[in-house]
C-alpha cells in the first residue's frame, strides 16, 4: 500500500518504522530537512521536505496514487487541513491526529462532513486505556479481541502468588481455570510456554480469557482483584478531562490534585462529583493528607515525564495502590523497564498502535485476512485475530491432530457469541474467528501457522 505520513514526530517515526517493515511504500513529509534526512537514513522510506498542507507538496509525494494519508504533526489545524486537501486531491483515505479537547467534541462532525476515515486523539486513547486498566487493576495492560468478548491481560506475577513454582499444565488440572497462558516474558526473553513450563516470581505473563473467567483466575492465584473504588489523579490536563468523562458513570470517586488554580476552577465546574485540590502534587505531606496510603489507584498524569516517574516511585511505597504513570517520551521506555513501575502509559505508542491496526485492517481487504493485531511483547510476540474461511486446511482435524509450526499458539476460538479456550480436542470451523499468538513470524493467513506438509 502507498502511505503518506505528514509529520516526523515520534508517532510518525514509529509508524514509518512499523509500516515500512510490513511492506508498505511509505513517504514522509516534514518541514525540517534535518528530520527528513535522519528518518530516510534509518528507515526504508522516501522523504519529502515541504508543508504537507500544500497541494504542491502532496502531489510531489504522490497523493494521486496514495491509499492512505496519515497526518500526525504537532498542530491539530495543520493535520485537519492536510486531510482536507488530500481528500480533495486524491482518492485516498485519511487519518488525522487531533489532540485539543475543543475539537474532540467535533470528531463525529469532522468525520462525517469532511469525510475523514479516522480521527485519533492520543490523549483520549490513553484515557481509554487507563479506564480499562482501572477496571482490572491486577493487569498492567489489557487488550480486547472479538469486540470485547476476549481479553488479553498482561500482569506481573508477584512472589506471593501460589502460581509460582506451578507448571503451565497445572493451571487446568489444579486450578481448574479456563484460561490460556500466551506468553511469558522473563528477563527480557520471550517464551511461548508449553505444558511443562514452570512459573517464577516476577514473570510478566499474558493470558487470554473472557473477562469473567479472568477475574476468577486472579482470585485463585491469590492475586487480589478488588475493583478500584477511588483514585487520586496528579495533574489536571486534557488526559484528566477525558478520563473523568469516562469514569463518570463508573462510580469511582475521583480526587484531582492540580497546581494551577485556573485549571482547578475549570475542572470543578465541569466535573461536579470530583474532589479538586489546588496544591503541589510533589508535596509528600499533601499527598499523604489526601489519602495516598488508602487510595486504590494513583495516576500520575502531569505534563512532565520526570515528575510523573518520581511521584509514581514515591507512591510505589504503598503496595496496595495501583499506579499508572503517563510517559510522553517513548525514549524512556527502556529505562522505565528497569524502574519497576506498575503500568506505564505511552500516548504516542498507543496512537501508533491504533493506526497500525487500522492499516492492517485496510490491507485485509487486499489479501491477508488478519483482522486485528496486537503486539504483546513489542517486536517479539504478536497476537492476531483471523477469520477462518471455508475450506481452510485448519478446519480439517481437531487441534491435537494438526501439525503446528514452533512458537505458534491457538489462543482462543470465537464462535458466534461463545468463546472457546481451545484444548486438544477442539475443532476450528469455517466462520470462526481465531486468535493466534506467534513469535518472530509474519502471518498473512491462518494456514500459515501449519507446518507445510511434505506429501502435499
Amino acid at each position: 500500500m502507498n502511505i503518506i505520513i505528514v509529520g516526523c514526530s515520534k508517532v510518525g517515526e514509529t509508524l514509518a518504522s512499523q509500516l515500512g517493515k510490513e511492506n508498505n511504500n511509505v513517504t514522509m513529509i516534514d518541514l525540517s530537512s534535518e528530520k527528513i534526512n535522519d528518518i530516510t537514513t534509518r528507515y526504508d522510506v522516501m522523504g519529502i521536505v515541504g508543508n504537507g498542507a500544500t497541494h504542491t507538496t502532496l502531489v510531489e509525494a504522490g497523493i494521486d496514487s496514495a491509499d492512505l494519508l496519515i497526518a500526525v504533526t504537532d498542530s491539530d489545524e495543520l493535520n485537519l487541513l492536510c486531510c482536507m486537501i488530500a481528500k480533495k486531491t486524491g482518492k485516498c483515505r485519511v487519518i488525522a491526529r487531533v489532540t485539543s479537547p475543543e475539537y474532540n467534541a467535533d470528531i463525529p462532525y469532522l468525520k462525517d462532513e469532511l469525510g475523514l476515515e479516522m480521527i485519533i486523539n492520543p490523549e483520549f486513547a490513553a484515557a481509554e486505556e487507563i479506564a480499562r486498566v482501572l477496571r482490572f487493576p491486577s493487569a498492567m495492560k489489557i487488550e480486547t479481541f472479538g469486540k470485547g468478548r476476549v481479553e488479553l491481560l498482561t500482569f506481573k506475577l508477584p512472589d506471593s502468588s501460589n502460581l509460582v513454582g506451578m507448571k503451565v499444565k497445572e493451571v487446568v488440572t489444579k486450578l481448574k481455570s479456563d484460561i490460556l497462558i500466551c506468553t511469558v516474558d522473563r528477563d527480557g526473553e520471550a517464551y511461548i510456554p508449553n505444558g511443562d513450563f514452570t512459573f517464577c516470581g516476577k514473570d510478566v505473563i499474558s493470558i487470554i480469557a473472557s473477562p469473567r473467567k479472568a477475574s476468577t483466575f486472579f482470585k485463585k492465584i491469590n492475586f487480589a482483584v478488588h475493583a478500584v473504588k477511588d483514585v487520586i489523579i496528579a495533574g489536571g490536563d486534557e488526559l484528566t478531562h477525558y478520563l473523568c468523562d469516562l469514569l463518570k458513570s463508573s462510580g469511582i470517586s475521583i480526587k484531582i490534585i492540580e497546581k494551577d488554580a485556573e485549571c482547578c476552577d475549570e475542572l470543578c465546574s465541569k466535573f461536579t462529583d470530583a474532589t479538586v485540590i489546588n496544591g503541589d502534587y510533589a508535596d509528600q505531606e499533601l499527598l499523604e493528607e489526601e489519602g495516598l496510603k488508602n487510595t486504590d489507584a494513583f495516576l500520575a498524569l502531569t505534563k512532565h515525564d520526570e515528575q510523573n516517574i518520581i511521584i509514581s516511585l514515591f507512591a510505589k511505597g504503598f503496595d496496595k495502590t495501583k499506579i499508572v504513570t503517563k510517559i510522553n517520551r517513548n525514549e524512556y521506555e527502556a529505562i522505565i523497564k528497569h524502574l519497576d513501575l506498575d503500568t506505564a502509559i505511552y500516548p504516542k505508542n498507543i496512537t501508533a498502535d491504533i493506526i497500525v491496526r487500522y492499516v492492517r485492517a485496510m490491507r485485509n481487504a487486499i489479501g491477508s485476512n488478519v483482522e486485528t493485531m496486537y503486539s504483546i511483547i513489542p517486536d517479539k510476540v504478536e497476537a492476531s485475530e483471523f477469520s477462518v474461511r471455508e475450506g481452510s486446511p485448519i478446519t480439517e482435524a481437531p487441534l491435537a491432530g494438526l501439525r503446528f509450526k514452533s512458537d505458534v499458539l491457538v489462543a482462543a476460538i470465537l464462535r458466534g457469541r461463545t468463546v472457546i479456550i481451545p484444548r486438544g480436542h477442539d475443532v476450528i470451523k469455517a466462520g470462526d474467528s481465531v486468535i493466534i499468538v506467534s513469535k518472530h513470524r509474519v502471518l498473512r493467513d491462518i494456514s500459515d501457522i501449519l507446518e507445510t506438509r511434505r506429501d502435499a
Binding site: G20, N25, S33, T40, T41, R42, D44, V45, M46
Partner: protein, 527 residues
C-alpha cells in the same frame, strides 16, 4: 564495524560475479562448441571457456565460504556501507582479472587487474596493444564489466537480494555518483529495480538500433551481432573499451552517430527518464540536464569550427589511428582538411565520448589544434550528470561550485546580503554546498598525489601524459593526450604506475570517499 555483515555481503558479491561470468562463458560456448569461428580461433575459445569455468569455480567457492554463516546482526551504518562498497569493488577487480590471466589473454596479473578495474570502473583505459587478437569471450567479458560497473554492482545485488532493510541506503549512497542520492519510490529495492530496468531497456534499444547498421561500403561490412552487443555494453556503462584497435573509427558513420547519441543518453541522470515516464516534464528537464546539454552544444560548436578551419596537411601521419591490420582510418581529405559534416560528426562524437566519460575514439584528437584539446581536457573534469553511468566531477557539482563563486562575489559587494544557492528555484542546503566544496578539495589533493606518484615512472616524459593519465583514470574516461592519446594505450607504464592508476580508476568511480576511508585507521577501530 559489522565485520560479519561485510564478509557476508562480499561473499554474495563473489557469487554474483560468478553469475556475471556466465555471459563470457556463453560467448565462449557459442564460439567453441558451436564452432562458428574460423579454426584458428577455435582453440583459444575452448581454452578461455575452461579459464572462465575455473574462475567461476573460485568465485563460487569463496562466495559460499563467506556466505555459509549468516550474520545475526544485520545492521549496517554509514561506515560499513562505505567499506563494503570500497572492498567490494576491489574484490570484483581482483577476482574478475583471473580469467584474463588463466586464458593467457593478458598473461601478467597486474596488467589484467588494471584492465578489469578499468572495465568495472567504466574507464576504458586499456593496456592491450592489439585488441583484435583477444579471444571473443574475453572481449565480451571486458565489455560486460563496463555494463555491470556502470550502474553499480552493489545496487544490482540490492535489487535482487534482500540483504537488509533501510540500511541499504548507505550502500547506494556510497556507490551512486553525484552529490545527493534520492530515491524514486519509497522502497529501496524497487528504486534499484526501476533504475536497472531503465538501464536494461536503453541498452537493448541501442543494441537493436546498431543491428540496422548499413555498413560503410560493400567491403567494410556492417556491425555483427557480437560487435553490436559489445558496443552496446561499453556505451551503456559509458566505459569505452573497443573491440578493434581503432575503436569506432572503422565503423560506419551510422554506427558512430548512434553511439554518439547513446553516450549522451547514458550520461543523463536516470531518474529523469523515470520522471519523463511519469510525465513530469518540468522535473525531468531540471537545471543540471539543461546545463549539460548547453555545455555539449557549445563544445561541439567550438570544436567543429576549430577543426573545420584547421589545416592538417602537415600532420597527416599523426592523425590516423592505425589498427593492427594496418588499415588506417581518418576522414581527413587529401587536402588535409575535414569537410564540414565530418568535422561536425567527429566534434560531436569526441565531445560526447569525453563528457560522458566513455572514451571511444574515432579520430586522434591528440593531434587536433590546441584549443580543441583544451576544451576536451575541460570536459574531462566536468563529466556527466549525477545519477548517470558517467564519471567526472558531475555537472551538478560544477553547478554548485560555480554558483558558490557567484555567491562569494556578491558577498564582496553586499557584505550583509543573505543569499542561498538555488537550483531550479529550490535552495541548496549549506550542508550539501559544504560537502561539494570538500569533495572538490579532496579531489584536487588526491589528483596531485596521484600525479606525483605517476611522475616517478621513467616512461612518463612529458607533463601532458602524466596529467592526462591521472585525469583520464580518475574521471573514468579512458584515453588521455600525449603518449596515451586515442591512438595509443597504457601498456608502456611501469607496474607501479599501473597500480596507482588502478586505484585512481576505482577511487574515481566511487567518488573518492569510500576508497580514502580504507586508509583511515579510525575506520577499522571498534566502536
Amino acid at each position: 564495524m559489522n565485520y560479519k555483515m561485510i564478509r557476508y555481503t562480499l561473499g554474495w558479491l563473489l557469487l554474483f560475479e560468478a553469475a556475471f561470468l556466465t555471459v563470457p562463458l556463453a560467448t565462449a560456448i557459442t564460439y567453441s562448441v558451436m564452432g562458428t569461428v574460423n579454426p584458428s580461433e577455435y582453440d583459444t575459445e575452448w581454452w578461455s571457456m575452461y579459464s572462465l569455468l575455473i574462475s567461476m569455480g573460485i568465485c563460487i567457492g569463496m562466495g559460499i565460504l563467506m556466505t555459509v554463516r549468516k550474520p545475526k546482526n544485520r545492521s549496517l551504518y554509514s561506515r560499513d556501507g562505505l567499506v563494503i562498497v570500497a572492498l567490494g569493488w576491489i574484490f570484483l577487480s581482483v577476482f574478475g582479472a583471473i580469467p584474463f590471466v588463466i586464458s593467457g589473454a593478458i598473461p601478467n596479473y597486474i596488467d589484467a587487474l588494471f584492465e578489469t578495474a578499468s572495465g568495472f570502473s567504466t574507464t576504458g583505459s586499456s593496456i592491450i596493444p592489439a585488441v583484435e587478437e583477444l579471444p571473443k569471450s574475453m572481449l565480451m567479458w571486458r565489455s560486460f564489466t563496463h555494463w555491470v560497473g556502470g550502474m553499480g554492482v552493489l545496487v544490482f545485488i540490492m535489487a535482487f537480494l534482500p540483504l537488509g532493510g533501510a540500511q541499504n541506503l548507505h550502500i547506494m549512497r556510497a556507490e551512486s555518483p553525484g552529490p545527493t542520492v534520492s530515491k524514486l519510490v519509497p522502497k529501496m529495492r524497487t528504486t534499484a529495480l526501476i533504475l536497472y530496468l531503465i538501464y536494461f531497456i536503453l541498452t537493448v534499444a541501442m543494441f537493436i538500433i546498431l543491428l540496422f547498421d548499413p555498413g560503410t561500403d560493400a567491403q567494410n561490412g556492417k556491425m555483427t551481432v557480437f560487435e553490436a552487443l559489445n558496443t552496446a555494453f561499453a556505451t551503456a556503462g559509458t566505459g569505452g573499451f573497443g573491440i578493434i584497435n581503432d575503436s569506432l573509427g572503422g565503423f560506419s558513420s551510422f554506427a558512430q552517430i548512434v553511439v554518439t547519441v547513446f553516450m549522451l543518453i547514458f550520461s543523463i541522470n536516470f531518474s529523469s527518464y523515470y520522471l519523463l515516464y511519469k510525465r513530469r516534464l518540468k522535473d525531468a528537464f531540471n537545471l543540471e540536464i539543461r546545463i549539460f546539454l548547453l555545455i555539449v552544444i557549445i563544445a561541439i560548436a567550438a570544436i567543429t569550427l576549430n577543426i573545420y578551419f584547421a589545416d592538417f596537411s602537415e600532420s597527416m601521419d599523426e592523425m590516423v589511428i592505425t589498427n593492427s591490420a594496418g588499415e588506417i582510418s581518418s576522414d581527413i581529405g587529401a587536402d588535409g582538411r575535414y569537410s564540414f559534416l565530418n568535422a561536425l560528426k567527429h566534434a560531436a562524437f569526441n565531445v560526447a565520448t569525453i563528457i560522458s566519460t566513455s572514451g571511444f575514439g574515432t579520430e586522434n584528437f591528440a593531434a587536433w589544434p590546441e584549443l580543441s584539446q583544451v576544451i576536451i581536457v575541460l570536459l574531462m573534469f566536468i563529466g556527466a550528470c549525477a545519477g548517470s553511468t558517467g564519471g567526472g566531477l558531475k555537472v551538478s557539482r560544477v553547478l554548485i561550485l560555480v554558483k558558490g563563486i557567484g555567491r562569494e562575489l556578491k558577498a564582496a559587494i553586499h557584505p550583509r546580503q543573505v543569499k542561498k544557492i538555488t537550483i531550479d528555484k529550490r535552495p541548496v542546503e549549506n550542508e550539501i554546498v559544504r560537502s561539494v566544496n570538500a569533495y572538490m578539495i579532496c579531489y584536487i589533493v588526491v589528483f596531485i598525489l596521484l600525479l606525483l606518484l605517476v611522475s616517478i615512472d621513467p616512461y612518463v616524459t612529458d607533463l601532458t601524459t602524466a596529467f592526462t593519465s591521472v585525469a583520464a583514470t580518475i574521471n573514468n574516461i579512458g584515453p588521455g593526450l600525449g603518449a596515451i592519446g586515442p591512438a595509443s594505450n597504457f601498456a608502456g607504464f611501469s607496474y607501479f604506475s599501473k597500480i596507482v592508476l588502478t586505484f585512481s580508476m576505482i577511487a574515481g568511480r566511487l567518488e573518492l570517499l569510500p576508497m580514502l576511508l580504507l586508509f583511515a585507521p579510525s575506520t577499522w577501530r571498534k566502536n
